[in-house]
Amino acid sequence: MQKVVDFYQSFIFSYSLAMILVYLVLAWLSFIAVRNYIKRSKGYNLKDIVDSPFAPGISVIAPAYNEGLTIIDNVRALLTLEYPLFEVIIVNDGSTDDTLEKLIDRFELLEIDFFYNERITTMPVKRFFKSVNPAYEKLLVIDKVNGKGKADGSNVGINAAEFDYFLCTDVDCILGKDTLLRLIRPFLEEKNRKRMSNRTLLIPDTGYIHTIGNERRVIATGAPLRMINSSIVDDGVITRFRPPVKILPRFQELEYIRAYLFSKMGWSAINCVPNVSGGLGLFDKDIAIKVGGYDPRSFAEDIDMVTRMSIYMIENHLKYAVRYIPNSLCWTEGPQTLNVFSRQRTRWARGLVQIIKLHKNVLFNAKYKRLGLVIFPNNFIFEFLAPILETIGIGIYIFLICVGEINWNNTFILLGFLYAASLLFTTMAILWDQMVMKSYKTAREVILMCLTAIIEPLVYHPLIVYFSMRGYMHSLFRKELSWGNMQRTGFAGGKTKKDKNG
């Protein structure tokens, strides 16, 4: 028995050390990536694209289900994005409230005939609407039968999209004005940093000789999402962004800062991004259609689609990249109650299990290069296994306490070590966020976020572990999943009043 306990303790220590080492490498990579991005991206550089006829068109797709409370403000905000060529496609996913009626009324919509090419199979589409008012000529509203999730609505948007790139977002998210300008840049400036190869291609009949290119195609880009709870929003525009007052969304804000600015930026530096968030992602439409778009059966449709796009590129021997930029461009309302939060995290955990099961042939498979040897192993070892090992560890500690075999001194030192590491990485992530954009108005708010990091590992982390395990159990026993209702409080009037009261 003692040997088993000793073995497990050594294993857990080695596992934790490995995880910390991975995070240290990510820290270094993300610092370089963030610093280089800041140096390259002076504000005036963005203006080049605004005036250019070479700026590719972008379709902004936002599925909506029962969003009557905030739909008008959010659509107005989407229509005022700064970009020379884009369209906004709102997919009304069988809403049972007055979402569609509000849209028709506010934006003067008229039902039209529309050339709809169903390249991805979806639930039936009922009607198409465009505005008679030229001010809203960019808006297309599609009414369809409910698809039991966001994926189906997104696929309808992809089918209807006019342009070569589409941005997928939630209709209740608020996007920054320069979101499209910033997200499209990685597509346009990706180059293989090495010199061209010496392999040449002779063009018959003409005698032209071209060097075979080694350029990479960017298939998706993403950017950080932030929590908008407690911020002041006026007509779909954030006038004052502040950290959430309630503790649960505040923890989530910290988690997002760490996940995007620390983790994903680090992975982006070595072209190993595991996924692009469903809340904000710009995708290559051609490749997305070739892989069948979003899968409505998936619990983590965003990871699933990016994985399939990556597999497609690898299997067709095409160089590709998935990139992240560190600017926060999307603000969303986080779950405010434990009930909603638990549903979200349980679903995410199930999604992870599903991804690993579905693409298990990719794991540790050298044929899939970075995807098989870096991304999937990282997801499996440090994302999927972590809650399981932690739960077993807690069980062993409880056992040792019961049998009186626990070495309290060593236990506290080890836990203290892990706690300190967690605090360090979170503080780093906050620093990267401050380097990129000074999101919060006052230094006090930043310090409060740093202080929140002190209690996060003690309060929030156990919740994550618990809900992840719950997700795994549901997955194991094939329990039926329902997306549930997010229970949004909205951005108008009432929220402004609340914020005035602090």
């Binding site: 280089n36 140096k39 390259r40 002076k42 504000g43 005036y44 203006k47 080049d48 694209i49 005036d51 250019s52 070479f54 700026a55 590719p56 039209i112 005939d113 529309f114 050339f115 090419n117 597509f187 346009l188 400036e189 990706e190 180059k191 293989n192 940093r193 010199r195 061209m196 040449t200 291609l201 063009i203 003409t206 032209y208 000789i209 071209h210 060097t211 290119g213 080694n214 350029e215 001194n409 060593n410 030192i413 080890l414 203290g416 070590f417 706690y419 300190a420 590491a421 605090l423 360090l424 503080t427 780093m428 906050i430 620093l431 401050q434 000074k438 230094a443 930043v446 310090i447 740093c450």
Partner: protein, 359 residues
């Protein structure tokens, strides 16, 4: 001493590591505070700078003709000079502000920004950055002189077009394009990496905002360059500059395996109104992927000859793919005159009329 270290238990090592980590975290919090402090300092400075610059520009912008000699600025910049002095970070903020303002002011009034840049000798800061060993300083310096029209010699720029850093190379190419008097596009000879769309966008911005360029023979690069992205870039330049001599070179690209490049070539031939290539385009149409078929239809529309328009009409009426019908319909709607389009509309069946309505 060595024995002491060897006898230290591992757990103490962990303890020390945890302590170091906590100290590092504390140091990072101090850095966060310092970053915020610098940000707030910069914002305060920008606000005071903005006020002075806005007053200065308003004062000068109503002047009917801006003199060539920067002496006209006179005391107007004294306040600015007092504000920035020789403080590096203040001067940097001023340079960035001037560049931003340039984007928003059109015509001769942009010269005011340039004159302020020269009057306060801000170009020295940019030149210092160019001679730095750090890549982002070099890149920034080259961008600043390019945006602020401060000419530097070809020789000084050419060395950077071969730099190992891709961003420095891009900035150097833009600077060379802007300032070279002899052959502005000479740097295309040395390009051994891929030219990106962002670089293309910057090249065209420079071309649009500058007064004339030395004649460049794009046909040569289209014919002889081994770099596909240079060929693609030159095809677009040739179309933009209406270089009809390049038509034969572009025609040669039609035989290549790259659909993307072929599509660009077809588009350029349309913009150059290459009537001589029309028959060839119609002949190859059937064997092309849809991307190239779309470009052929547009090219025929741009060329606008009777044969070409008849072909587009026939594709609209007879094509099996709806996507092709849609593109053909758009070409007809765009390039036919209103009376001819209406005549065509009235001569077709109800189904085709419906398609024309929804395209």
């Amino acid at each position: 001493m060595e024995k002491m270290y060897k006898q230290v238990p591992f757990i103490v090592v962990i303890e020390i590591a945890a302590l170091c980590i906590l100290l590092t975290a504390f140091a990072l919090v101090c850095i966060v505070i310092s970053v915020r402090y610098r940000y707030q300092r910069d914002e305060k400075f920008k606000a005071s700078l903005a006020e002075i610059i806005d007053n200065l520009i308003l004062e000068l912008i109503v002047v009917e003709e801006i003199p060539k000699d920067i002496e006209y600025l006179g005391d107007s910049v004294a306040d600015l000079r007092a504000l920035v002095g020789n403080v590096k970070w203040k001067r940097q903020i001023l340079i960035e502000k001037l560049i931003e303002l340039q984007w928003n002011i059109a015509g001769a009034n942009r010269k005011i920004m340039v004159d302020i840049y020269l009057s306060l000798e801000l170009f020295k800061d940019s030149l210092k950055k160019i001679s730095s060993t750090v890549w982002y300083n070099r890149m920034q310096g080259l961008q600043e002189v390019t945006y602020m029209d401060y000419a530097i010699t070809d020789l000084d720029i050419l060395q950077f077009t071969l730099n190992s850093n891709a961003d420095v190379r891009s900035a150097a190419r833009c600077a060379y394009l802007k300032f070279s008097k002899n052959d502005s596009f000479r740097f295309l000879d040395e390009v051994q990496d891929t030219l990106t769309v962002v670089e293309l966008i910057e090249f065209f911005r420079i071309i649009n905002n500058s007064n004339g360029f030395g004649n460049s023979n794009f046909a040569n690069w289209i014919r002889y360059s081994r770099n596909k992205t240079v060929v693609s870039c030159c095809i677009r330049f040739a179309a933009y500059c209406n270089e009809v001599n390049a038509i034969e070179s572009i025609r040669g690209v039609l035989g290549g395996n790259d659909h993307g490049l072929r599509a660009e070539a077809i588009n350029a031939l349309g913009r150059l109104k290459a009537v001589s290539v029309e028959d060839e385009l119609i002949a190859i149409y059937g064997s092309q992927p849809i991307e190239c078929q779309k470009e052929i239809l547009f090219a025929l529309g741009m060329i606008g000859s009777a044969t070409g328009i008849e072909f587009v009409k026939s594709e609209f009426l007879n094509a099996k793919l709806f996507e092709v019908k849609r593109i053909a319909g758009r070409v007809l709607a765009r390039f036919l005159t209103k009376p001819k389009f209406e005549k065509f509309q009235s001569s077709i069946g109800i189904e085709h009329q419906h398609i024309l309505k929804i395209i």
